[in-house]
């Protein structure tokens, strides 16, 4: 369990919290019994918890991801379950029909795994290595910029703009990605630049 997650103050702090509720007061005896035959073994036992936020809408519900393996220990980690974080002030553990199915976004069959290229006129994607793809993209960008960069407008004013290659930024990347993207795009002089706020 990560450090952040262990700070379960929320339910205690709200007074009417968990401790005083039904779930704590079922009157279950302390009798140690084997699992009844009908009852499944609890599937989250010995998994690793990681706190995250839902990537869909802008309510930004808190979620907990349960994985086999722990990234923080340098292990491979496979997420096996995701559910709402009851300690989160906004969603209090709840999730909508999209958020509740996040596991199958992470594990969707159509997750992209390898860089692909589609050559001009081709009817298919082919695998390409990262190095080759990135080298090619940088070359295409530079050639276009060198060919079409406008340093001064007709009035002789310095404008330093490049409008023949554009960039559409995302809607769900982090602020940190946003800023590194901003630096790369603007330093190149790009003006054709937008995000998904409008659609």
């Amino acid at each position: 369990m990560n450090m952040e997650l262990s700070r379960r103050q929320f339910l205690a702090a709200t007074g009417a919290g968990f401790a005083g509720t039904a779930l704590g007061a079922f009157g279950f005896g302390e009798v140690e019994t084997a699992h009844a035959e009908a009852i499944r073994a609890f599937k989250l036992v010995n998994t690793t918890e990681t706190r995250n936020t839902c990537p869909y809408c802008s309510v930004a519900c808190g979620i907990i991801m349960y994985s086999k393996g722990d990234l923080r220990k340098g292990e491979q980690a496979e997420i096996i379950h995701i559910e709402g974080d009851s300690d989160h002030p906004t969603n209090r553990g709840t999730l909508c029909p999209k958020g509740s199915a996040l596991l199958n976004f992470v594990k969707a069959e159509t997750r992209l795994k390898y860089p692909m290229v589609r050559r001009p006129g081709s009817d298919k994607f082919e695998r390409i290595g990262w190095e080759e793809a990135l080298d090619r993209i940088a070359r295409l960008m530079k050639d276009d910029r060198d060919g079409n960069f406008v340093q001064k407008n007709n009035d002789g004013v310095t404008v330093n703009r490049w409008t023949t290659t554009g960039f559409l930024a995302a809607s769900a990347t982090t602020n940190e990605t946003a800023f590194v993207t901003y630096k790369v795009v603007r330093s190149a002089g790009m003006l054709v630049f937008d995000n998904q706020a409008r659609v």
Binding site: C57, M141, N175, V180, S187
Partner: protein
């Protein structure tokens, strides 16, 4: 949002109009149900469809899409006519008393200064009378015929309940019920919250839709108070952040603006951003613009940004048009004026309007790069998918790179929600295959580009080769490094100007907040409004303290809220002119004779006297604006305009088509259906369903189970008229395209009677495409017009014209 999701529990009345919170934001909607259950709050839903939000509303009022301004100005008129105004608030905190220039007028749907050929206004008369003292002239008695209040009163007087019914199709008694409930929130102890989203923005007058409600909220005294506010629900998880950080054509981070080519140098740029106060004693916070701007330039170019080169001002590109937004981008592409396009987590082939045009445009590119965790239609625009993407790959010469990125579960960093909370998240899973983080991909592209320029030279390499890139691993900056850069740091020790012995930030340290930023190059900050998010106290976005004194819903120690951890914007307006809460039960901050304090970070200088300094510190007036001067392209007041494709002509201004100030590209105008078209008689609208999220969840089989297949929704009456049966196949077409869908025939959509004639609504959800786990289908963007809002170019997705007919289904 001016407020936050958790604050909604404090409200007395929720108005959901221009949105559908229960479906699009279910877990935020929880706070509506809490307000209802615990405070007895009421919920009003105004929508063309009886949505799932409407299913739990106390009052539902139907409205024709694209007529919201008429409705809202009608409510405003009702409040003014019935003296349901929070007068003390209006007089003290709005510009109601400001005298407007004599030249300004509104007639036949147009404001003064319209130029039809330019589709634009000369806005010089849209301003206050400025006195000899340099300040705006006011009449606190509100008797001057040219004061904002009296102009507003006259402007809205045409929107009577009868007129509203004729334009909107809202039955008069429903409208009056809504108006009455809203007007009750004009007392200081009752408050209303407005929850809206793309139902208001995706119109050619989207900005004015929102302004209308903001003005109404000001008249009722509901801005800056707990349980009140203008709450933009927003679509995606970090679209607030992407906009805050300025990833738009004309923006710099923190809502500063990119120079235009008219601003030939640093001084001319700054000369229009001085923001001198328009009334005595006002803060006019943008007076600090230069500090934020220089600090931004330092974050970009570090040591290369010097006083001598005006902090590299010239290295910023200069605009020749208002913006190169996504619509202009596709227009340029279609004209063959673009070479390359890079789409990071954005699927424009389904998201932008007029898909035929989009495909033609992308086909003219030399190269396209996409970066996504999931497969997208855009990256496969060249691939034939039968009727769902009927293209000939051999005719498309675009070179396409599809780059796999990690998803939320595998990366680290912060997202900003619609309540302005920056929340940090941690990775918990190993990425699939060779997927890489977006930071890595962007850095790898940059480093290659920089190295090519270093090696080969080329067109003006300076801004590229001098970009500050001092990360531990230049090939992959960490989220933490970037967060610190966004926050900002001091290059030299910064002192308090009022007490030079007091250190505000030590050299080399992170700045505590934007108050420490300077305009001499001694500080940097990537995005000034985020300053404080990661300072010497640590990563404040990672805070997870759930304490909430007196259960106000502020949660001030949970994550970080911009600006300076403030949870409710304009919160000084929650108190009267003496600094006492309008509603003691909803106290937020109060003046104790010396300073402001309370549950939130005051949105005013802590020692600013309540009678002197107005609550709207970002405005040079110090007050809010019922009349917005020349700051909106389409008018200082909202006015009713029909959508560009409308089933009726404009009732209040018959000669005006669409929004007269909206930009329309030449070829696109010819592709609009005529008003009251016989060929396209039905009013269509697009929307999301609660089971899906945009074009993402069709890749998630569980969500595909819940809503498997594309459909359109129509009324029983229209079904009968056109011979359409429940679950049968239909063809829907507009002047720009045609789609096939299943038909859902429902009582939840009813014909609206507008000016005596029935208007049938066709509802078109937007979640289907040709990739993923759900059935292949179409989206509304095959049909929608290529025109955006006059101010910010949001496409008019919510109101357009179609025809519909039953068809035989595909042969199985």
């Amino acid at each position: 949002m001016t407020n936050s999701w958790t604050d909604i529990k404090n409200t007395d009345l929720v108005v959901i109009m221009g949105g559908n919170a229960a479906e699009a934001h279910p877990c935020g909607f929880k706070w509506v149900t809490e307000a209802k259950a615990n405070r007895g709050a009421r919920l009003i839903v105004v929508d063309p469809r009886f949505t799932r939000s409407a299913s739990v509303a106390d009052v539902y009022a139907p409205i024709r899409q694209g007529s919201d301004i008429a409705f809202l100005l009608g409510v405003m008129n009702y409040c003014i006519q019935n003296d349901k105004v929070q007068w003390d608030y209006v007089k003290a905190f709005t510009n109601a008393a400001y005298i407007v220039k004599d030249g300004f007028a509104y007639k036949d749907g147009l404001f003064t200064g319209y130029d039809e050929t330019k589709r634009d206004y000369d806005k010089s008369s849209w301003d206050y009378v400025i006195g000899d003292d340099g300040y705006a002239t006011v009449d606190d008695t509100l008797t001057h015929p040219r004061c904002v209040w009296n102009l507003l009163k006259a402007h809205v007087s045409v929107y009577t309940p009868e007129t509203v019914e004729r334009i909107c199709g809202t039955p008069k008694e429903k409208f009056l019920k809504v108006a009455e409930m809203i007007s009750e929130c004009s007392t200081p102890t009752k408050t209303m919250t407005s929850m809206y989203a793309l139902g208001w923005t995706q119109h050619s007058k989207g900005s004015q839709n929102i302004r209308s409600m903001a003005m109404l909220q000001l008249i009722l005294g509901n801005i800056g108070v707990r349980g009140g506010g203008m709450n933009a629900l927003r679509g995606h998880s970090n679209i607030q952040g992407l906009t805050d950080v300025g990833l738009m054509s004309n923006l710099l981070p923190g809502y500063m603006t990119l120079p235009t080519e008219k601003e030939v140098d640093f001084d001319s740029y700054m000369s229009t951003r001085g923001f001198k106060p328009l009334r005595p004693n006002q803060m006019s916070y943008w007076q600090n613009y230069k500090k934020f701007f220089v600090s931004f330039l330092k974050a970009m170019w570090g040591p290369a940004a010097t006083p001598e080169n005006h902090f590299a001002y010239d290295w910023l590109p200069k605009l020749d048009v208002p913006s190169y937004d996504v619509l202009r981008a596709f227009e340029l592409m279609n004209q063959g004026k673009m070479t390359g396009y890079i789409c990071q987590g954005f699927n424009p082939l389904l998201a932008a309007p007029n898909r035929t045009k989009l495909t033609a445009s992308l086909s003219k590119l030399k190269f396209l790069v996409t970066m996504d965790p999931l497969d997208t239609e855009t990256s496969r625009f060249w691939e034939n998918h039968g009727e769902f993407n009927d293209v000939d790959p051999s005719q498309i010469q675009t070179e396409v790179f599809q780059l796999p990125s990690t998803c939320f579960a595998e990366d680290e960093g912060s997202l900003t929600n619609s309540g302005r909370w920056l929340q940090w998240h941690w990775p918990g899973g190993t990425p699939p295959g060779e997927a890489k983080t977006d930071n890595w991909i962007m850095a790898q592209i940059y480093v290659r580009l920089r190295d090519l320029y270093r090696k080969e030279g080329g067109a003006f390499p300076d801004p590229i080769v001098n970009l500050d890139w001092s990360y531990g691993d230049p090939g992959e900056p960490t989220a933490e490094e970037l967060a610190k850069e966004i926050n900002g740091r001091a290059y030299a020790t910064v002192y308090d100007p009022s007490d030079p012995t007091k250190v505000v930030a030590e050299a080399g340290k992170l700045v505590p907040s934007f108050a420490a930023l300077r305009d001499d190059g001694s500080t940097s900050s990537g995005c000034w409004i985020y300053a404080g998010c990661f300072n010497e106290n640590g990563n404040n976005m990672a805070r997870r303290d759930t304490s909430d004194p007196d259960e106000t819903g502020a949660y001030s120690k949970w994550a970080f809220s911009w600006p300076v951890n403030r949870r409710i914007l304009y919160n000084r307006a929650s108190a009267d002119l003496k600094g006492k809460a309008w509603d003691p039960s909803r106290k937020l901050i109060e003046w104790d004779g010396q300073k402001w304090s309370g549950y939130d970070v005051p949105d005013i200088a802590p020692t600013a006297k309540p009678s002197d300094v107005g609550p709207f510190i970002m405005n040079p007036e110090g007050v809010s604006r019922l009349f917005v001067r020349g700051m909106m392209r389409d008018g200082p007041f909202p006015a009713h305009y029909e959508p560009f494709e409308s089933p009726v002509t404009n009732f209040v201004a018959p000669n005006v088509r669409g929004n007269p100030a909206a930009r329309v590209f030449a070829g696109d105008f010819a592709q609009f259906a005529e008003p009251a078209s016989q060929e396209f008689p039905y009013a269509a609208t697009s929307y999301r369903l609660t089971e899906h999220f945009h074009y993402w969840t069709k890749h998630v089989w569980v969500n595909a189970v819940l809503q498997p297949e594309f459909f359109v929704e129509i009324s029983e009456e229209l079904a009968k008229e056109r011979g359409i049966v429940k679950g049968g196949w239909v063809r829907v077409w507009s002047k720009r395209g045609s789609i096939k869908a299943k038909a859902v025939v429902t009582k939840r959509i009813k014909p609206l009677i507008c000016d005596g004639k029935p208007v049938h609504v066709v509802g078109i959800p937007l979640h289907w495409g040709f990739t993923g786990a759900a059935k292949k289908g179409f989206g509304p963007n095959s049909l929608t017009p290529f025109v955006g809002d006059a101010n910010i170019e949001t496409p008019e997705y919510k109101a357009f014209l179609v025809n519909i007919e039953p068809i035989a289904g595909p042969v199985a």
